[in-house]
């Protein structure tokens, strides 16, 4: 069987880990297969879990989270016959498939939609814990907004600097209210459990919100403009589907291969006009074609857009 390892957030973080979980579940539903899983509780466990699954004969072993990199570096060589799939980070080993996502381009697209949907010309972003990955989201988003409406204002807030920043929906909500009072009428939450508070408050206060990672449109139907889908679920699903045959190497999930995208479904259909779709699709095409370059915050830890 394949195995899935979730990072410290836990598989129900309504976000990244949960997306991975959904992918695995989808695979179960469609193939009727079964898989083993583990939720990390201590950093020291990373290597332990990897080995345990590998020895257990699980193949492939899929792990969600950049923090696995160093552990995998050491484990992978010991199990040449086991395939490992690492999401969000690159490990260069013959039996490792590294999948990274262009969060910035996906965020760019939702930024475009946000700018189009905003009536006040002010939109905002609530991040979870203040780490570079989240800034990558924020920066792509800001670029998308500015590209669409050069004199739009983008308010960026991070919830905190400790892991509790992922689990503080109340503060998420307060940050959102603060942004609303500064004129924001579209808020993009990339903050795990904290994000739930953001979407909730956006709905309560009658503004639009943008979900993250998995399709969160259904959480507050009619209030969530769209979700920046980082198709971790697909990555997991496909890895599971490929099974032991999953092929090693570097694999960038971007707009082109639907690794990242904006979510459209019945819950937000009413919020997004034909014209908006046209524009965002244009942007998407532009990025894929390379006409539009979206700056990746990670490249130099700076952002041109704010």
């Amino acid at each position: 069987d394949p195995a899935m390892i979730f990072d410290l957030g836990g598989k129900f973080d309504k976000s990244f880990n949960e997306a991975a979980f959904n992918g695995a579940e989808r695979w179960v539903k469609e193939t009727g297969g079964s898989y083993d899983e583990f939720e990390l509780s201590a950093d020291a466990q990373r290597e332990q879990v990897l080995r345990r699954f590998a020895e257990n004969g699980n193949n492939p072993v899929v792990m969600a989270g950049f923090s696995f990199a160093s552990a995998l570096e050491t484990v992978a060589p010991d199990f040449p016959d086991t395939k490992f799939v690492l999401i969000d980070m690159v490990v260069d080993q013959p039996n490792v498939r590294s999948i990274v996502f262009d969060e910035h381009t996906g965020s760019y697209l939702v930024g475009v939609l946000a700018a189009l949907a905003s009536e006040t010309g002010t939109v905002s972003f609530v991040g979870g814990m203040d780490i570079p990955l989240i800034s990558k989201f924020a920066c792509g988003y800001a670029q998308g907004v500015k590209a669409t409406n050069p004199d739009a204002k983008v308010i960026v807030n991070m919830t905190g600097t400790t892991p509790s920043a992922w689990n503080d929906p109340v503060k998420g909500g307060e940050l959102t209210r603060g942004q609303i009072s500064q004129g924001s009428d579209v808020v993009f939450a990339a903050a795990g459990g904290t994000g739930l508070g953001v979407l909730q408050t956006a709905a309560d206060e009658g503004i639009l919100s943008v979900g993250v990672d998995s399709n969160q449109n259904y959480l507050q139907p009619g209030s969530v403009l769209t979700s920046m889908m980082k198709r971790v679920d697909n990555a997991v699903y496909e890895s599971f589907l490929a099974g032991e045959a999953v092929e090693p190497g570097f694999n960038a999930m971007g707009l082109a291969n639907d690794g990242v995208s904006y979510a459209m479904d019945e819950h937000n259909a009413a919020l997004i006009t034909e014209d908006m779709i046209a524009q965002v699709e244009a942007a998407k095409a532009g990025i894929i074609a390379g006409d539009i370059t979206v700056h990746d915050y990670m490249s130099d830890e700076t952002c041109p857009a704010y």
Binding site: D36, E37, F38, E39, S41, A42, D43, A44, Q45, E47, Q48, R51, R52, F66, S67, A69, S70, D78, D88, M89, M129, D130, I131, P132, L133, T161, T162, P163, M298, S299, D300, E301
Partner: protein, 366 residues
């Protein structure tokens, strides 16, 4: 006053406490639909069944010995150092700083340096609360709690800012130079032809921890400082009469306490992660409270209690593998142990004492 034999106090009572804790936990497990006995079997198998299991159990135990000693020495001076968490985190900072600053050629040089810096940083973080308690009577429990949060903020700032590697995602420092790699049990035991799993984090820091226990024992019961610490813990007025300066002893005790906590970094930061990761202490500081309570503030007891909690952590992971029981189950057990051995101690002690008194009296009559 000894109402019962010593063995009852140091062994029987903790055992009964533990028993009750397990029974309650068993009930919780049963309530969420797991056979507690299978669960226990799984935990034991997972934590002692293989050399790797043991390796993990002892790795956790090592952390808990350090934080347990930190708590214990403070208690001997009748202070409640709830700040182990923060002191351990800052200790990690010290270790990281020195290990990154110098291109260490060999661990034999790096380890002493790490011990010194981990200790110093931990002690430094304990100093202000200690000073405020000693000189201004600010309640050390509150101040150390506050310092835990400040430590989290400080390390958070450093690890997402100045100390983070540019372009890397993780809130952590660069990996330490290879020269700082500490021998794991595998590497340590191989020369003696003992086969120990290559892949368990338990490392030479465990011996450092044991040495700390020895040091603790000598300090407490064979040195003047220990004598003065215990005297102060029992009676401050008497200590003044004896020419012992309470303020001085309090501060020294807390410095040692903080140093013990800081030394934990030698195990988890230097020995395991080999770089400093954000909030790597993961609650070990608080478990130190439980460990010291169970261990009756005695090094031997601390070692045993630490191994018990190491078993709980490793076994807890096993429970998750096998039954998907959330890791928080361990937190529950830990809570119950603290409650019973600490706050509800008398609930068990009272009846036991009465039993012994009865037996004593009946002997007298006979």
């Amino acid at each position: 006053m000894n109402k019962m034999p010593r063995w009852a106090d140091v062994a029987l009572i903790p055992f009964i406490n533990l028993l009750i804790a397990f029974v309650i936990s068993g009930i919780v497990l049963a309530a969420i639909g797991t056979n507690p006995f299978d669960a226990l079997a799984t935990m034991i198998e997972g934590s002692f069944g293989s050399s790797r299991g043991v390796g993990y159990t002892l790795y956790y135990a090592t952390n808990f010995i350090f934080t347990g000693l930190a708590m214990a020495i403070a208690s001997h001076a009748r202070m409640f150092n709830i700040g182990g968490e923060g002191q351990a985190a800052i200790g990690g900072l010290g270790v990281a700083v020195i290990l990154l600053a110098v291109p260490w050629p060999h661990w034999t040089l790096a380890l002493p340096a790490a011990i010194v810096f981990g200790g110093l940083f931990g002690a430094a973080w304990a100093f202000i609360p200690a000073y405020l308690q000693a000189k201004r009577g600010s309640h050390i429990v509150i101040t150390t709690i506050m310092f835990n949060f400040m430590a989290a903020a400080l390390t958070g700032y450093l690890l997402t800012g100045p100390m983070k590697v540019k372009g890397k995602m993780a809130a952590e420092t660069a990996a330490f130079p290879p020269g700082t790699h500490l021998p794991t049990f595998h590497e340590m035991l191989a020369p003696f032809g003992i086969e120990f799993s290559k892949h368990a984090p338990a490392n030479i820091s465990f011996l450092v921890a044991l040495l700390c226990c020895l040091f603790f024992w000598v300090l407490m019961w064979h040195t003047r400082l220990g004598y003065q610490i215990r005297a102060l813990g029992h009676s401050e007025t008497a200590s003044k009469y004896a020419g012992i300066s309470p303020a001085k002893i309090m501060i020294i005790t807390m410095l040692i306490s903080g140093a013990f906590a800081g030394l934990m970094a030698v195990n988890n930061v230097m020995g395991e992660a080999e770089r400093m990761i954000h909030n790597a202490v993961e609650g070990a500081g608080f478990i130190g409270i439980a460990v010291a309570l169970m261990g009756r503030n005695h090094p031997i007891g601390v070692i045993l209690a630490a191994i018990l909690f190491g078993f709980l952590w490793q076994g807890g992971a096993e429970l998750q593998f096998v039954y998907g029981i959330p890791r928080e189950m361990v937190t529950v057990i830990q809570a119950i142990v603290i409650l019973l051995t600490g706050a509800l101690d008398y609930m068990v002690r009272g009846p036991v004492e009465r039993i012994f008194l009865m037996r004593a009296n009946s002997k007298k009559r006979a």
